[in-house]
């Protein structure tokens, strides 16, 4: 039940249209990804709040053993002014 990097990026962009999103396939198996998301809307929020926004964008893809996405190492950042 692998997911393509492009699908992950598209889901995040849908929720955060102006975000800079970079997805790296860590293991080459379509199942272990790293995502770096940079978005202005993260400003003033702590890391937990920032990552909740990204998880919400992924709409349950991360959920449990039946989730399509087993592992996503997530880094959220605020853009440099």
């Amino acid at each position: 039940m692998a997911m393509q990097a492009k699908e992950i990026e598209a889901l995040i962009k849908e929720a955060l249209p102006d975000a800079s999103v970079e997805i790296t396939d860590l293991a080459g198996d379509g199942n272990h990804y790293a995502a770096e998301v940079i978005d202005e809307s993260f400003r003033g929020k702590n890391r937990v709040q920032q990552q909740r926004i990204v998880y919400a964008a992924l709409k349950g893809k991360m959920d449990g053993s039946h989730g399509e996405l087993h592992a996503l190492a997530l880094t959220t950042k605020i853009p440099d002014v």
Partner: protein, 120 residues
């Protein structure tokens, strides 16, 4: 409050540091859980590990409780701190030290510095 919810609530309130993880602190069963347990073990933090693989109710319950979809999850003084990526970032930036200092949790500062040195 459901039984699971009140059990979680009780666990995070009666232990200063709790790590919900896959496996145990001495035998983690997932790379992400292993990373966080490894940091806490190395820093000699006294923490309670909860193996979510041992209880399906807790496994789903903790995700609902914290509104966070992944395991591991670290709680300090009853507050959700974050998952693997956040804890590793905080370890490397020194924010984890600050949080332990502020909340009066004992840890080995030299060990924390060593982690930062080797990841610099």
């Amino acid at each position: 409050m459901s039984d699971t919810k009140s059990l979680i609530d009780q666990t995070i309130k009666s232990n200063d540091v709790v790590l919900y993880m896959k496996g145990t602190k001495s035998m983690p069963q997932c790379g992400f859980s292993s990373k966080v347990a490894g940091v806490l073990n190395y820093m000699e933090v006294d923490y309670q590990d909860v193996n979510v693989l041992a209880d399906e109710n807790i496994r789903q319950g903790i995700k609902d409780f914290s509104d966070w979809p992944t395991i591991p999850q670290l709680y300090v003084k009853g507050e959700f701190v974050g998952g693997c990526d956040i804890i590793i970032e905080m370890t490397l930036s020194g924010e984890l030290d600050t949080m332990f200092d502020d909340t009066g949790i004992k840890y080995d500062k030299d060990a924390a510095d060593k982690i930062r040195e080797s990841n610099a």
